[in-house]
């Protein structure tokens, strides 16, 4: 049995114009020690997926479906049980290390917090453990840094502090929501290397949410591509690098600055209040035909463990060959 099993996960927001389905039918399984990358444009539902897994959806948003961690259903847990789980078995790091730390507390105290909360560790012992964690995320001079306030650290240092805080209780699953987006490029690589190293060391699973396809390709074992709140493609990284089945993923790859071609996908993500009944990518898709608007395309098997949600997979494969 996989550590994390997500089935038919959906998120619905109540709006004055009726319920909006901002996430629909997301499913995947993640084994211990594996890294899953979730990629997509802004507004594709990446962050919502991460928050739904943590039970941290904003007020007014409801999760549907099933999320099982170690066989335990998370979506039916009450807030109290979730509080005991969060920071202990599942942890999360955020995009903005600038604002994700309390400006008024020394970072050492913030790292020690989950230990005091979940392990009931006495203050002195938790402080010592916090210094050990700071060393573990390769921060120099942990004794001095533990007493520092967030504003005295650089962006990269703060993100390392966030990672140390998330690691404190030795979680089974770490959800990283765009952990490198706010950092500059050299620091990005260091943080990703650190995450990979920690996964290998501890055997935890990592969900890496990012819009940076290259970063995910280098780090993850599998990739889940989201568009307009639905899964369009799900594949092992090696398979994805060889062959992109879905026209959207192809477009996403072509839009990488590294290709030298740098072709943007025309149009923008669909308005969540007026989602088309069929394929949500149809109005931007170069291969769209009338049948695309008929109903949501099913996830079809393309290769081993490689699935894509498109009814024009043959045509997409043909254009991929040609280009």
């Amino acid at each position: 049995m996989a550590l994390l099993e997500v089935e038919a996960l959906g998120v619905v927001i109540d709006s004055p114009r009726g319920p909006l389905e901002i996430l629909r039918d997301v499913g995947f399984a993640l084994e211990s020690g594996r890294i899953l990358g979730i990629v997509g444009e802004s507004g594709s539902g990446k962050t919502m997926t991460a928050l739904a897994l943590m039970g941290l959806l904003p007020p007014g948003a409801r999760a549907q479906g099933s999320v099982r961690l170690g066989g335990r259903e998370l979506l039916r847990l009450d807030e109290h049980a979730l509080c005991r789980l969060r920071g202990d078995r599942v942890a999360m790091i955020f995009q903005e290390p600038m604002s994700a730390l309390n400006p008024l507390q020394p970072v050492g105290a913030q790292i020690a917090e989950p230990l005091r909360l979940h392990r009931k560790m006495p203050a002195a012992k938790a402080a010592a453990e916090a210094r050990r964690l700071l060393a573990r995320v390769h921060l120099p001079d942990p004794d001095r840094l533990a007493a520092a306030f967030p504003h005295q650290l650089s962006g990269g240092q703060r993100q390392r502090v966030m990672i140390a805080m998330a690691l404190a209780c030795g979680p089974d699953l770490l959800v990283a929501d765009e952990p490198t987006t706010a950092l500059d490029v050299t620091v990005q690589a260091q943080i990703l290397d650190l995450l990979v190293e920690l996964v290998e060391e501890t055997g935890m699973s990592l969900i890496l949410v990012s819009h940076d396809l290259a970063a995910v390709a280098e780090t993850a074992d599998e990739v889940l591509v989201l568009y307009g709140g639905t899964v369009v493609e799900h594949a092992p990284v090696a398979a994805m690098l060889r062959h992109r089945a879905h026209p959207y993923t192809q477009g996403l790859f072509a839009a990488r600055p590294a290709t030298g071609l740098f072709r943007a996908i025309p149009g923008s993500v669909p308005d969540l209040a007026a989602l088309p009944p069929g394929c949500r990518f149809a109005d931007r898709c170069p291969l769209a035909i009338a049948a695309c608007g008929d109903g949501p395309p099913p996830l079809g098997l393309v290769g081993p463990g490689h699935r894509a949600a498109c009814i024009r997979l043959e045509a997409a494969a043909a254009t991929a060959e040609a280009s």
Binding site: P103, P114, M162
Partner: protein
């Protein structure tokens, strides 16, 4: 890090002294507190002793600020009156902070119907002008220092409730709150350990300003006879009693008036100065 701290502290000290308003406010407020404290153990004369042979004397070495129409020493009355003003201010602000801040924090943390209920309650309290509600309360409970404190305190509750809710809601949307939730903290602990410390500076500033307003309100209530009752001296009632002798001895009105102005001005300057000092967005000196 230590270099930052070493540079940081003198810089902050310089900022404090460059802000003349803050310095004036601090001095005036300290003076007010000092006078009240001294009056607890010593006044030049008894503040309540009546001596009709010494009526309406001008200032002299014996009576620094003269005497009133009962022969009481004005300076002593002002000193003891300061006690009264400070006591009313502190207790009224404490009531406002205790109830208002809890209500505001609850509203911000819970949202939904709890927030609606708390804020509509605040609106309801706000709808009555302060003096009117004070008159209402003193009419129900009878005049006196304690009842005027309650009246002013109740007026302070919605002020703090609204301020706290607004500031706390802004903190709740910050990423570090989400991060502490992701670390498994419950709402109560997040409120007390993360939200409250981050809005404390705003509350301190508001408390200072409400303190000044409370002193003013107490003087107003005493002036119309609903506040502190004789023989205990109060600045507001001294003003009232001076009215009759305004042409004969205007100093009877001038000295308590100056005392009120100095106290309120001092606290307001202190509050504004603290706001500049504690709010990085307004830091312009």
């Amino acid at each position: 890090m230590s270099a930052v701290a070493e540079r940081g502290r003198p810089a902050r000290r310089r900022r404090v002294f460059r802000h003349w308003g803050l310095v004036c406010g601090a001095i005036l407020t300290a003076l007010l507190l000092l006078i009240a404290l001294v009056s607890l153990v010593w006044t030049p004369h008894s503040a309540t002793a009546i001596d009709l042979t010494q009526r309406l004397l001008p200032p002299s070495p014996r009576h620094w600020l003269g005497t009133d129409h009962f022969g009481r020493d004005i300076a002593s009355m002002l000193m003891v009156g300061a006690q009264n003003s400070i006591l009313v201010g502190i207790v009224a602000v404490a009531i406002g902070v205790a109830l208002g801040v809890s209500l505001g924090l609850l509203a911000a943390a819970q949202g939904g119907w709890a927030e609606e209920a708390a804020m509509r309650l605040a609106d309801f309290t706000f709808a009555f002008p302060a003096v009117l509600s004070a008159i209402l309360i003193t009419a129900l409970l009878g005049p006196g220092a304690v009842n005027s404190i309650i009246a002013i305190g109740i007026f302070n509750v919605p002020v703090f409730a609204r301020l706290t809710r607004g500031a706390a809601r802004a903190i709740w949307t910050r990423d570090f709150i989400l991060a502490t939730r992701a670390a498994g903290k419950g709402g109560l602990r997040i409120t007390l350990e993360h939200v409250l410390p981050n809005i404390a500076s705003i509350l301190i500033v508001q408390a200072t300003i409400q303190f000044a307003l409370a002193i003013l309100a107490e003087a107003g209530l005493s002036y119309i006879g609903l506040g502190t009752q004789p023989p205990f001296p109060s600045w507001g009632r001294m003003l009232n009693e001076a009215q009759t002798f305004l042409f004969l001895a205007p100093r009877l009105a001038i000295f308590p008036g100056l005392a009120i102005v100095a106290a309120v001005l001092g606290l307001n300057l202190l509050g504004d100065g603290l706001r500049d000092l504690l709010d990085p967005r307004l830091r312009r000196f």
